[in-house]
């Protein structure tokens, strides 16, 4: 290197930095790093990983001292395994059914006994007329109706066809299909046992399954309501909570509170864009479902939109509540995901039927607003019900909304005093 001479500076020679002596530093020769000895540190030899060890230990500190990370690392897998193992099965147990028995003889009684003792079914009600069937399904308590035709036992003895009708509620196509299969299997079993014990006359019990509301068992009928619910939760609850937490985190919430803006204005201003956006989203999904997937819209469109707006308010109030207990966006995100989205997907009956879950989880499922909303949507779209069938679920959502809002206001007031 040539002399570098920027004015009054001494000639600075790149070759060796020999005379550079800051107190105790030894002459530093960039050729080998041997003589680097800044006081008490030993020669640094990249062969051993001593300094990296310290770094790894530090990372463990971060993990073990953060409750949230621990919950995710250790709690979630355990919870999920337990859930999937015990609760989230696609098998059905204790499905509620109704029976319309025109014969009421011992054969039908035997078949019924087999069915109810199988563990899959619970006999909820004995119907007296076919007119009741549609209504029962609309109410949503019965998953399946079994109809025994007239003169059942006689038909069997005379070698004639004895008919059993199986009518399932296919607004949940998986469940309906499974239940129909179970029933048919039980009946076949009975038939086989009859064949063995009877004379040479062949026995013919022909079950005819009929799936109401969703004859083609399109699973999209199950997914569209679920997707709308999750979307509204995502946009209205999670995004709102994150947005409010962000103001707190970057410090602008302070400014807003000191300004003439009233707190109610701040909140309304925060949630309005999300309301608009989520309504647009929900309507798009409905349109897509209707036109592209053939999802029926048998009920009242206005009622559906009103219920959707109610659910939006509910999701917003949850988002606001979460933001009052979250100091940072990250916390808001985690609470929303772990406390809202995951339980909604797993426990609301969206994918896994609630009836199979242990009592505890069924109770928890009742606390999920999404569960009630899915019932409402399916009711309106697939079964065409009016308000008189879903007033209970609607009321529950209204009460939940009031509760969340009340709690949020209380939290807010506490911070202000």
């Amino acid at each position: 290197m040539e002399h570098l001479d920027p004015g009054t500076l001494e000639p600075w020679n790149f070759g060796t930095l020999e005379l550079w002596n800051i107190g105790t530093l030894e002459p530093w020769n960039p050729g080998t790093l041997e003589h680097w000895n800044p006081g008490t540190l030993e020669h640094w030899n990249p062969g051993t990983l001593n300094n990296m060890r310290g770094f790894i230990i530090k990372e463990f500190y971060h993990i073990f001292r953060d409750v949230r990370t621990m919950i995710i690392l250790f709690g979630m897998p355990v919870v999920q395994i337990l859930l999937f193992g015990f609760a989230l099965t696609n098998e059905i147990k204790n499905a509620r059914i109704a029976v319309l028995d025109y014969s009421k003889d011992d054969v039908t009684a035997e078949i019924l006994a087999k069915i109810t003792s199988s563990g899959y079914f619970i006999l909820e009600e004995n119907l007296v007329s076919e007119n009741q069937i549609e209504d029962k399904f609309r109410q949503g308590k019965i998953k399946q109706v079994i109809i025994f035709e007239d003169n059942f036992a006689e038909s069997i003895e005379n070698g004639k066809k004895a008919g059993i009708h199986i009518i399932g509620d296919a607004s949940d196509p998986n469940t309906a299909n499974l239940l129909a299969n179970y029933t048919q299997a039980i009946i076949k079993d009975y038939q086989a046992s009859l064949l063995m014990s009877q004379s040479a006359i062949p026995v013919l019990i022909t079950p005819e399954p009929k799936l109401l509301f969703n004859p083609e068992l399109k699973s999209v009928f199950m997914f569209v309501p679920g997707i709308i619910t999750i979307l509204l939760m995502l946009v209205c609850a999670m995004m709102t909570s994150i947005s409010i937490a962000r103001e707190k985190e970057i410090g602008t919430m302070e400014i807003l509170l000191v300004s003439p803006l009233k707190p109610i204005h701040i909140i309304l201003g925060k949630v309005t864009p999300y309301v608009v956006l989520s309504l647009i989203n929900a309507i798009s999904i409905l349109l897509l479902g209707y036109f592209v997937f053939g999802m029926p819209m048998r009920g009242n469109l206005v009622l559906l939109l009103l219920e959707a707006i109610l659910f939006i308010f509910m999701a917003l109030s949850m988002g606001i509540l979460i933001s009052t207990i979250s100091k940072t966006q990250q916390i808001a995100l985690m609470i929303s995901l772990a406390g809202l989205m995951l339980p909604t997907i797993l426990l609301s009956g969206f994918i896994f039927p609630v009836e199979n879950m242990p009592e505890v989880l069924q109770i928890i499922s009742n606390l999920m607003p999404s569960k009630w909303f899915i019932i409402i949507i399916k009711g309106i779209m697939l079964k065409g019900v009016g308000l008189q069938y879903i007033w209970k679920e609607t009321l529950i959502i209204i009460l939940m909304t009031a509760f969340f809002i009340g709690l949020s206001v209380r939290n807010f007031k506490i911070r202000l005093t």
Binding site: I250, G251, T252, E254, I255, L256, L257, V258, S259, P260, L261, L416, T417
Partner: protein, 258 residues
């Protein structure tokens, strides 16, 4: 000094949180157009007092009037007549300078015409008119501070509260910032600020120093230095803290020293 010229009047302000007394019978006033330094160690109760003066929290007891309005019943009017600049600078990072002015101006009820006028005025003063459409995130810290201050006084409030406004900026920027503060005070806006930089304390017209919830000193910097026989405000601060602090660490040091 008549009451009319006191823009902030505080008499026996007490603020308790449960049994903890954050503000213990504070008594002071701030004159109109004054630059008032509100000092104290961390945890002495400054932030609590400021929040009460801004109308955010209600006092436990005491008479407080800010800009002539009562802190118990007229907080809305107080909020409309004060400006506030927080330590974190409170500007929206993902919005431009222009958009921030528009937003905050709107909150304080300024019309778009007025907002445009004031914005042009401040941008010209700072020499950054060409940067009106720059996003805040891309600006250097010193600019953000001065912009935050401009926005805080944009609506010509009676008082502007500055919470540690110069933390983290270089000395040159600090000096420029203080020029802005002087100009603002000159126009009649009272400046109420807190700071940990003791040299800035010297720039204030009067200072109060809080220790453990009480005001233990209130006077001009010159008088305080004379009273405590110190050369600098820093020494005054340290002496006061040692003498009055109930913290055993600090008072132990003082007893050893004396």
């Amino acid at each position: 000094m008549t009451d009319k010229e006191h823009i902030i009047v505080v008499e026996n302000l007490v603020k308790k949180f449960g049994s903890f007394v954050a503000n213990d019978h504070l008594n002071f006033f701030v004159k109109k157009g004054e630059i008032f330094g509100f000092l104290g160690a961390n945890g002495a109760g400054k932030t609590t007092a400021i929040k009460i003066l801004c109308g955010l929290w209600k006092p436990t007891s005491g008479m407080i009037k800010v800009a002539g309005f009562d802190v118990y019943r007229e907080t809305e009017k107080i909020k409309r007549n004060i400006g506030y600049m927080s330590q974190k600078f409170s500007l929206y990072d993902d919005m431009t300078i222009g958009e921030n002015f528009t937003f905050f101006g709107g909150i304080y009820g300024l019309t778009s015409k007025v907002i445009r006028e004031r914005m042009t005025f401040f941008l010209k003063k700072l020499g950054i008119e060409d940067y009106k459409d720059r996003v805040i995130q891309s600006l250097p810290l010193g600019w953000k501070q001065k912009l935050a201050f401009s926005i805080a006084v944009m609506h010509r409030p009676a008082i502007v509260f500055l919470d540690e406004p110069t933390s983290g900026v270089d000395p040159v920027t600090r000096r420029q910032f203080w020029d802005m503060i002087y100009e603002t005070a000159h126009e009649g806006i009272t400046v109420f600020l807190t700071t940990h930089y003791m040299d800035e304390a010297e720039y204030c017209e009067r200072i109060s120093i809080m220790v453990d919830g009480r005001i233990e000193a209130l006077d001009t910097p010159a008088e305080l230095k004379k009273q405590f026989e110190c050369e600098s405000m820093e020494e005054v601060f340290v002496r006061l803290a040692r003498r009055y602090s109930k913290s055993s660490v600090i008072s132990h040091q003082s007893s050893v020293r004396n």
